[in-house]
């Protein structure tokens, strides 16, 4: 017995000693905030142990992953070095730089697919399997916020010096009940119209600069008219290509809401099938296809195919995302044909306004949310990383290398696009010539309008629940698809789909939210009074009386 006991105690003491030895070593490095110069002189083993804040960065956003195969080279890293893959090397350089600036942080680049069509379950799965990156694109707002998929970053945001530079729209998107959950990435943009300048010249349509294109204050009626004028069936040219999303323009340009407060007060919202302009929207889309014949249409025609139709010269006007137009003019100047100049062929115009002067420009950047399971240190590190990536050292390093690389390859560098669409103020200006020398007037004027535009308040700021965005937009698309592909009476269609949406999506809320609802409507009224006075006078005043009454009892 005693022998056994002795052995046991010996082992135990050995164990204790070995543990405490590690603990002593750990205390020397861990928990103490080292400066970069102190970190740099640590022995390698301690360096490894000191890095205890893991930051998982999605490689497609602010990172780079070494190539898959080594090809004919010795190793993947050899391939990047000798193959001249500066982008990847810059990613590694930035990784190393950031780790030196923040000695405790260890950056890991991972692949994470955040663009699937069922983003919510993909993210839920990744989070519960602990495979999610530290930050990711925030989609399906505000539902994903309510479900707790992002960390609350209100404190970090308030300390940030560039907080005010974020587009209003992005802040509104990611704010629920006064708490901020998202930050804006560095790509300011909006849904705008991409059009063929040469076709507009042929049709004799010129903007305020005397160049071919629509005026910046054009209306929905102009849009329809222009689409008809540039259509040439003999040449296989159509005014516009519509999938069911493209046809939402009418409602957007009139500032129509798809849902309004429930007048009975039973639930929070109901589908807005009462407004006669909703009927007009459906009719007008149908007429464009059937009477004007200015639209080439298919339900399977998505974003990509719409752009393909445009690029291959069969369609003259499509809805597009502003940064892509600017970027294409730099990266693929001969996209529209070998003998054409992109910036003289492809134009950018803000979306058409409504009759009552509503300005439908909603500038936004990809909102980014953070993993809610991160520790405090990890969250801070992720936030720092984002700053560096958006406009700090990471950004500047990438831009410098892009300028050099472009010069070597004899191309126009992308730095102009990045600066054009940047919402933040970078530490350094790397441009060697003015924007006017690179981009045509319509791009610059659209971006000027974008920076000046204001986004209306959203219900989520007041603690009101909003419908799940993915399902709701799917339901609205189905309504438009039905309107376009069938000949059923639009009134009947609208009633059918309103019933469907009301039963499936809007069965929440109720009387307890009346006060919040009133506050929200008041805020919107103030907003329109201030920023869109014509629309307020001509439209909103009347609309509020008719459709936005909140039941009082």
């Amino acid at each position: 017995m005693t022998v056994r006991r002795t052995i046991f105690f010996c082992l135990l003491s050995l164990l204790t000693v070995s543990c405490s030895r590690n603990a002593i070593l750990d205390q020397m490095v861990a928990g103490k905030k080292l400066k970069p110069q102190e970190y740099a002189v640590l022995p390698e083993n301690d360096k490894v142990r000191y890095k205890d804040v893991i930051l998982r960065v999605p490689a497609q956003w602010g990172g780079a992953i070494l190539p898959f195969d080594k090809g004919p080279y010795e190793s993947p890293i050899d391939k990047t070095v000798h193959g001249g893959d500066l982008q990847t090397l810059m990613g590694l350089y930035n990784q190393s730089l950031f780790e030196l600036q923040n000695p405790r942080v260890k950056v890991e680049y991972i692949n994470f697919d955040m663009w699937t069509d069922n983003f919510r379950s993909a993210l839920a799965v990744a989070l519960s399997a602990k495979k999610a990156p530290a930050y990711y694109i925030a989609r399906d707002l505000p539902l994903t916020i309510e479900q707790g998929m992002y960390a609350d970053i209100t404190e970090l945001m308030k300390k940030w010096d560039q907080f005010k530079m974020q587009p209003e729209g992005s802040i509104r998107e990611g704010t629920v009940n006064g708490h901020i959950y998202t930050i804006a990435a560095n790509e300011l943009g909006a849904t705008v119209i991409r059009y063929r300048k040469d076709w507009f010249r042929e049709a004799g349509i010129f903007n305020e600069f005397g160049e071919p294109g629509p005026r910046s204050d054009w209306t929905w009626d102009d849009y329809r008219e222009y689409a008809k004028r540039i259509t040439n069936v003999a040449k296989n040219r159509h005014g516009t290509a519509a999938d069911d999303a493209g046809s939402l323009f009418y409602t957007e340009s009139n500032g129509l809401d798809f849902y309004i407060p429930d007048p009975t007060g039973q639930h929070d919202w109901i589908f807005n099938d009462k407004d006669p302009r909703m009927l007009d929207a459906l009719k007008s889309v149908r007429e464009m296809i059937n009477n004007d014949k200015s639209v080439t249409y298919s339900t399977t025609m998505g974003w990509y195919e719409r752009h393909n139709e445009f690029d291959s010269g069969r369609v003259g006007m499509i809805s597009s995302f502003s940064p892509h137009i600017a970027r294409d003019s730099i990266t693929s100047p001969t996209k529209m044909g070998k003998d054409t100049v992109y910036r003289d062929t492809v134009g950018m115009a803000p979306p058409p306004r409504g009759k009552n002067g509503y300005i439908p420009l909603h500038p936004i950047t990809n909102p980014i949310g953070f993993d809610p399971t991160l520790s405090k240190e990890q969250l801070e590190a992720a936030f720092e990383w984002c700053k560096s990536w958006f406009y700090g050292d990471n950004f500047l390093n990438r831009m410098r290398s892009a300028v050099l690389e472009a010069k070597l390859k004899g191309q126009q560098s992308e730095v102009y696009v990045e600066y054009l669409i940047l919402p933040y103020t970078p530490k350094e200006n790397l441009l060697d010539k003015p924007m006017e020398a690179v981009f045509p007037k319509d791009y610059l004027s659209t971006y000027k309008a974008l920076r000046e535009a204001h986004s209306p308040p959203l219900p989520r700021q007041f603690g009101l629940r909003e419908p799940a965005p993915a399902e709701f937009s799917k339901a609205v698309h189905a309504l438009f698809a039905d309107a376009i592909t069938t000949q059923t009476d639009v009134k009947e269609l609208l009633a059918k789909h309103a019933n469907l949406i009301n039963t499936n999506i809007f069965r929440f809320g109720g009387k307890e939210n009346r006060d919040k609802m009133r506050l929200y409507i008041q805020e919107r009224t103030d907003f329109y009074k201030k920023y869109q006075p014509t629309f307020y006078e001509k439209d909103w005043k009347h609309r509020i009386e008719t459709y936005y009454k909140v039941a009082t009892n």
């Binding site: 919510r120 080439t296 298919s298 339900t299 399977t300 399902e471 189905a478 039905d482 039963t503």
Partner: protein, 299 residues
């Protein structure tokens, strides 16, 4: 006379080996076959949250399913698809197989090999999606070439469902399982019928089809279950559109569960679908039993 070795002796050993052989399959079937099915009844009474614990909500999920107009649309679409696909494509392989047996052995071999040149399933669906493309697709190209009116195929709500079935009609072919069964029909029966001067149709009706009956009944069963659960075909071809014209029940279950993360309602709908399929299977077994002795009644 060799001595029986001790390890093969006794009932105990044999039973032990039997259970050892069965065990992996048993566990797999229990865990991944039966457990999810039983657990789906639990899920259907709960509301799932992302962070919080699930909440017991009673029959609310079933109530949601009952008042949802889309559920009715989805069931209508699914039944329409099932009846179209069974009505138009179920009988084809049987008759093609019977006809194929008339060819010489060599021809059968060549034809079978060409017929079963496989195309991967998602690839095959994508080819047809390309064929149906309104501007670039071959279907409209053929119609244009023939000087006919072009069709909207997948963009026409009235035509979309038929467009999903059409490849099955155009690509008609024999069924492997029918050919196997046909080879086992004794030739003497046909010879005897020939003596009596029976026509070809009568031979098919009175000899071939009764022999195929159990196989046909089984295939019909699988066909009903399969076509009621159709997912990939409309999911890839149309995504459920235009509007909701091709949204099937399983697609709706999928979008509830993995698009909207509404797991409770999705499972409740799955159980309703299960009930409907079981009812259809019972009807099928009632009116089309596998019994080989019962001769089919004259039409």
């Amino acid at each position: 006379m060799p001595e029986p070795t001790p390890k093969t002796q006794g009932i105990g050993y044999k039973t032990l080996m039997a259970w050892l052989f069965t065990a992996p399959g048993l566990i797999a079937q229990l865990v991944f076959g039966w457990l999810p099915v039983l657990f789906s009844f639990v899920v259907s009474f709960q509301k799932y949250y992302f962070i919080k614990e699930p909440e017991f909500v009673g029959a609310k999920n079933f109530q949601d399913v009952a008042i949802d107009p889309l559920v009715i649309t989805a069931f209508k679409n699914t039944l329409y698809f099932a009846s179209l696909s069974i009505g138009l494509t179920f009988l084809l392989p049987i008759f093609v197989s019977i006809l194929l047996m008339e060819m010489s052995r060599r021809t059968i071999r060549i034809m079978m090999i060409l017929w079963f040149v496989p195309v991967a399933s998602t690839a095959g669906i994508t080819i047809w999606k390309y064929m149906y493309h309104p501007n670039l697709g071959l279907m409209n190209g053929i119609l244009r070439g023939l000087g006919l009116h072009e069709l909207k195929w997948l963009d026409d709500p009235n035509l979309a469902m038929f467009s999903l079935i059409l490849p099955g009609i155009i690509l008609f072919g024999p069924g492997l399982i029918y050919i196997a069964a046909l080879q086992n029909v004794p030739e003497e029966l046909y010879e005897a019928a020939e003596m009596e001067g029976a026509s070809m149709l009568r031979k098919i009706w009175f000899i071939t089809l009764p022999r195929l009956r159990p196989i046909i009944a089984m295939m019909l069963l699988f066909s009903i279950i399969g076509s009621m659960q159709v997912f990939e075909l409309p999911f890839i071809m149309t995504g459920g559109g235009p509007g909701y014209a091709t949204t099937t029940v399983v697609m709706y279950i999928y979008s509830l569960a993995f698009g909207g993360y509404n797991l409770g309602k999705a499972t409740a709908l799955a159980i309703v679908l299960f009930g409907v399929i079981m009812a259809l299977v019972l009807i099928q077994r009632r009116f089309f039993p596998e019994n080989i002795d019962e001769t089919p009644k004259r039409a």
